[in-house]
């Protein structure tokens, strides 16, 4: 085969191949046509073999011709393939309507109180704390007496206690706060102690928009050598910044009274919603009251056999529902306990 023969062969083949490609009736046909005109026995291969016998000045010309032939046939095959594929898809009927959705509910939702609780637990775990727990039905010792609240102490009238028909009258009760967990932790664990105690607490109230016989609190207790009120305030501020994911949060403390801490303070955080310009959440005060705090009263240490000269500690507590109410603008506490499906699925 000389150069002229080769060029003629390619020109003729190109026309025949184009006709064969257009004539392919199926994807299988097309694959066979592609093999015939581009495969090992195709004219292009034959020319390529012959090129070795051509003179050096003829080879480029022949090479270019082979390249042009291959490109033309390859393009034609690609065009025909997409035509045939589209036709095959059309033969399968109309496509699936995926907007119909799935089979049904894919997952449920954790209760908002659990979500808040986990979030708080994780913040304190990050600060190096462990999670402590205790019974919801408590005895007088853990709920009151060891917390420096003896019988007939005026502070007991601050608590509307639900008593249980066990033991002596008023000896067993539904815990009115998570603070008894402080006592149980100190009774069983040597300091240093760094724990938080989340859990359910009870009051003698009927469920309505503003009251609930049960709700959730979280208590923090740290006992170590040399802990100060500055440590208490700093820990609360660090926690509040994480809780509201806002480094500009500030804390405010006002003198208050709790029998089991001294000094005691009410704790408030700067309003993260209006940045203290005044809004509904903070009742236009710029501050959101979160709970109470203080240094562990030495009497409490004595009750659990910890030397108050060697160890100092701090404690603070707050309500989980209250945090959720602040954060999400929930007005009524009963919302948490109605467990309406629409509420559960919103969070």
């Amino acid at each position: 085969m000389n150069l002229a023969d080769a060029l003629a062969l390619l020109e003729r083949s190109a026309a025949e191949a184009a006709a064969a490609v257009v004539g392919a009736a199926s994807l299988d046909d097309l694959a066979s046509v592609e093999r015939d005109w581009l495969g090992k026995r195709s004219p292009a291969t034959a020319v390529n073999e012959a090129i070795k016998t051509f003179g050096p000045d003829e080879r480029p010309r022949a090479g270019q011709a082979v390249g042009a032939y291959r490109a033309a046939v390859t393009d034609a095959v690609a065009v025909r393939r997409s035509e045939l594929e589209a036709a095959a898809a059309a033969d399968r009927g109309p496509g699936l309507d995926l907007t119909l959705g799935g089979h049904g509910a894919v997952r449920g939702h954790l209760h908002l109180v659990t979500q808040i609780r986990r979030e708080l637990e994780d913040i304190f775990v990050g600060l190096g704390y462990r999670i402590a727990e205790g019974p919801e039905v408590e005895d007088d010792w853990h709920n009151f007496e060891a917390l420096n609240i003896p019988p007939a102490h005026p502070a007991r009238s601050m608590q509307d206690t639900l008593y249980i028909e066990l033991g002596r009258p008023e000896q067993v009760m539904l815990r009115t706060h998570t603070s008894p967990v402080q006592i149980r932790t100190m009774e069983t664990q040597e300091p240093p102690i760094y724990v938080v105690a989340p859990g359910r607490t009870y009051r003698n109230e009927t469920l309505d928009a503003r009251h609930s016989p049960a709700f959730h609190q979280m208590e923090c207790l740290a006992v170590d050598r040399g802990l100060t009120m500055a440590d208490l305030f700093g820990t609360i501020e660090a926690f509040a910044k994480r809780l509201f994911d806002d480094e500009s949060v500030r804390t405010r403390f006002r003198s208050d009274f709790f029998p089991y801490t001294e000094p005691s303070a009410e704790l408030a955080v700067s309003c993260v919603f209006c940045h203290q310009r005044g809004c509904r959440v903070c009742s236009h005060t710029g501050w959101i009251e979160l709970g109470g705090c203080g240094m562990v009263d030495p009497n409490v240490f004595v009750q659990v056999g910890i030397d108050p000269e060697e160890w100092q500690g701090f404690a603070f507590g707050f309500g989980l529902e209250r945090i959720a109410m602040i954060r999400y603008g929930i007005d009524e506490i009963r919302t948490f306990f109605d467990n309406d499906q629409r509420f559960l699925e919103q969070y």
Partner: protein, 792 residues
């Protein structure tokens, strides 16, 4: 308590701007609940005298009053019944404004022109009294603005006083705190009592219970009972106390000012001039001032007359026949100090809290008893024309000793995280009335007698903190060095269980563990833990299972048209204590409830929920925990349908229940039907064995699949056959699964066909046909031992 600023200013200037005073009170722990300015909007109301009262010609309940307001006269229409000629009253002429920003205009009322109005106390923002027009002092100057006269330019702080601060329940105590804060003078004038030797009566006082009543002081005076002067009425009103009569008002006035409750007895109505302080005898009765007859107990302390007849429930409320009334001419004034806990106990037992008991139970000032009586007598002379008998009977056998407290400056700094000097500590404490001796490193401090809350070093540390303010304390974050923060295994498991159920489509409910006995009895026959003082029966016992709470959630949602529900709860249930224990057992459980329809349309048909849905949820929990050796065993369960319920056993121990909710319960609660449920005891599961976690290599060789169908009696559980087949095949059984259940007449009664797919695989080779055949025979034999017959 309500503290009018004008009253505070009797003792200290307190002339800072109101917002600074409020900030100071808050910092000091005297929390300001509200700041009221009762007369802020009152403008142009003047003193007027009623000249004549005429009937309204066209209205029975209205009258016409001609009034003189100093520089003029006019006529107003008035609906109050108490007006009379000569009465001096507040008159709001047209153009004057009243609380609420309401401006008066001249207008006709039932045809008669009214040029303004006469005002009640309430209409001026002075409390709630709307029973008639407020009577002003007869000597008030006509035409004067009533604001200064009634103290309407005053500010009232409504303070929430914590139980440790009885001193701050008196105006003097609040003034002392503000004086210290603003570094201003603080002066409480000594009362000046003019006595009258012409009134000479001796009143013996016998204290039979000195531990309960350490001090009892009695004074005697002749009085003229009548109304109090305007300034006293207005002050009491602003402090939230209604005027009764000058004598009673004076005792209330001193209570509010000095935090010392006083009681005035009508001396002539006591049986003999004498006082006996004694405890009650069992079964004794007395009627208190509120008209309630009360049965007494030997722990109650009584103030009795010379005949030992009770005249007061000590420190709480008067009683008997000795109440001061309009005819009283001679009084015995009691000023006493009672032991705190005794008052608290009786007050709580008889459910009677008064302004007096609230103060006594927090601790009054034992050394302030005499001066408070003097203050009252000084006022009685001024407002009730009192003639005071000289001398007092003051029984105080064992004076209360003030503690001496060692205060270390180093300890103050160690607790507060401060670097205060001794001088700064002294400067913080001294203005509170604390006597200090010492060199600056260590003080010997003697707190004042009106501060019963101060008896330890830490109490004084707190005083320093209050005085310097918490804003002066820094912010540091301690890092535990002995431990790494982490959840316990159990706490992580709890999260895994909840997350597994969320993944299975269940939403978490949190219900209140207080339920009704009926609700808990539907799902449990164990006697529940009972609340001793429930507010209502619906919250009178503690749940012993989580199912009543979930059923209530389903009922709530069903009633709102949300019938398709999948909910779970994870929490404690309460079981009666073990024999030697005081407290109930509180196992932690998880339960799920699903009702209504499983929605799969339009892709597939919907179907009602069934018990297998509950089994799926249960298995997702067990899988999350990795619990091994679990069996489900048909058994009747309280609250579940007897033909569709089962117990769950782990390693042979009961850990829970599963099944269809009893249709009778569904009907009774109005739940969407069907309803299926499960409950698992997580405490019991924590003790159950868990999956072997030692790695097993997975075989790369192809499996051999064998399907076997058996006809079995209905009494044979599918799970038992699976166990038998697995056991017979041994380690080659990679999985054994039941894939078909069929009943038909051809099988005969009480029988069904169960088909099983066995996937066999060896770790080290491809199984040969003969090996598979041999395994198949073993499986058939094992099934046969359970009464299963291979189907042809």
């Amino acid at each position: 308590m309500r503290a009018p600023l004008s009253w505070i200013r009797d003792f200290t200037p307190a002339d800072a701007p109101i917002d600074e005073i409020v900030a100071a009170l808050n910092q000091l722990g005297l929390e300001v609940d509200a700041v009221e300015e009762p007369g802020r909007e009152v403008r142009g109301v003047r003193v007027a005298r009623i000249l004549e009262v005429l009937p309204h010609p066209d209205a029975d309940k209205l009258q016409l009053a001609d009034v003189d307001f100093g520089d003029g006269q006019t006529r107003v229409v008035c609906g109050a019944p108490n007006i009379a000629a000569g009465m001096v009253v507040p008159f709001a002429p047209s153009g004057a404004t009243l609380p609420g920003g309401f401006t008066l205009e001249r207008r006709k009322i039932r045809g008669q022109v009214s040029d303004g109005m006469l005002c009640s106390a309430k209409e001026l923002g002075l409390g709630d009294d709307h029973s008639g027009i407020l009577a002003l002092a007869p000597d008030a100057v006509l035409g004067d603005d009533v604001r200064p006269l009634l103290g309407l330019d005053d500010v009232v702080f409504d303070l929430a006083i914590t139980p440790n601060r009885p001193d701050a329940m008196g105006i003097v105590g609040v003034a002392r705190e503000l004086a210290a804060h603003f570094r201003q003078p603080f002066t409480v004038p000594d009362p000046v009592v003019v006595t009258d030797p012409g009134v000479a009566i001796t009143v013996p006082v016998l204290i039979e219970a000195p531990d309960r009543c350490p001090r009892y002081l009695a004074r005697v005076a002749e009085v003229t009972v009548g109304p109090s002067p305007e300034w006293m009425r207005a002050r009491l009103l602003k402090a939230g106390v209604r005027s009764i009569s000058n004598v009673v008002d004076v005792t209330n006035y001193v209570l509010l000012e000095r935090n010392q409750p006083l009681h005035a007895f009508d001396l002539d109505r006591l049986a003999g001039p004498g006082i006996v302080v004694r405890t009650a005898t069992a079964g004794e009765r007395m009627t208190t001032l509120d008209g309630v007859e009360r049965e007494l107990e030997p722990t109650d302390l009584l103030i009795c007359d010379a005949d030992r007849a009770p005249q007061a429930l000590a420190g709480i409320m008067g009683g008997g026949d000795s109440e001061v009334g309009p005819t009283t001419t001679r009084i015995l004034l009691e000023s006493a100090y009672f032991e705190r806990m005794g008052i608290a106990r009786t007050s709580k037992r008889v459910k009677l809290r008064s302004e007096s008991s609230a103060r006594f139970e927090r601790g009054t000032d034992p050394d302030g008893v005499a001066v408070a009586a003097d203050r009252a007598l000084e006022l009685l002379v001024a407002v009730a024309a009192a003639r005071v008998a000289p001398g007092s009977v003051d029984e105080y056998p064992a004076p209360v000793v003030r503690p001496t407290i060692t205060v270390r400056t180093a300890k103050v700094n160690a607790v507060l995280g401060t670097t205060l000097s001794g001088a700064e500590v002294r400067e913080a404490l001294a203005p509170l009335g604390i006597d200090l001796a010492g060199d600056g490193e260590v003080f010997e401090a003697v707190p004042p007698s009106f501060r019963p809350d101060l008896d330890r070093e830490i109490d004084l540390v707190e005083e320093v903190a209050r005085r310097i303010g918490f804003a002066a304390i820094g912010r540091t974050v301690p890092k535990p060095e002995h431990q790494v923060g982490a959840l316990s295994r159990r706490q992580r498991d709890r999260r895994l269980v909840a997350d597994a159920l969320v993944g299975a489509g269940y939403s978490e409910a949190v219900t209140i563990p207080l339920v009704s006995p009926e609700a808990v009895a539907r799902f449990s026959d164990a006697p529940p833990v009972v609340v001793a003082n429930p507010l209502r029966s619906e919250e009178s016992v503690l749940r012993s299972t989580l199912l009543p709470g979930l059923a209530a959630v389903a009922a709530h949602n069903g009633a709102r048209g949300l019938a398709d529900l999948a909910v779970f709860e994870l929490g404690r249930v309460f079981l009666r204590p073990d024999p030697d224990a005081l407290l109930p057992r509180e196992p932690e459980c998880v339960a799920g409830l699903r009702t209504g329809t499983v929605r799969r349309t339009p892709v597939e048909p919907d179907r009602p929920v069934d018990a297998h849905d509950a089994v799926d949820a249960l298995r997702s929990v067990l899988d999350a925990l990795g619990t091994d050796a679990v069996r489900i065993e048909a058994a009747p369960v309280v609250g579940l349908d007897p033909v569709a319920s089962a117990r769950v056993l782990a390693d042979g121990h009961p850990v829970g229940v599963v099944g269809v909710v009893d249709p009778r319960v569904v009907d009774a609660l109005g739940l969407a039907s069907p309803a299926v449920a499960f409950e698992l005891d997580l405490d019991a599961l924590a003790a159950a064995p868990t999956r072997d976690r030692q790695f097993r290599s997975v075989s790369p060789f192809p499996p051999s699949n064998v399907d076997l169908a058996f006809v079995v009696p209905d009494t044979t559980a599918a799970a038992d056959l699976v166990a038998a087949l697995s056991g017979a095949v041994g380690p080659l059984a990679e999985s054994v699964r039941c894939f078909d259940e069929f009943r038909g007449e051809s099988l005969g009664p009480d029988r069904r066909s169960l088909a099983f797919a066995l996937r066999l695989r060896a770790p080290d080779r491809t199984l040969t046909d003969s090996e598979v055949a041999e395994v198949r025979e073993r499986a058939i034999t094992a099934a046969g031992a359970l009464g299963a017959v291979l189907r042809g």
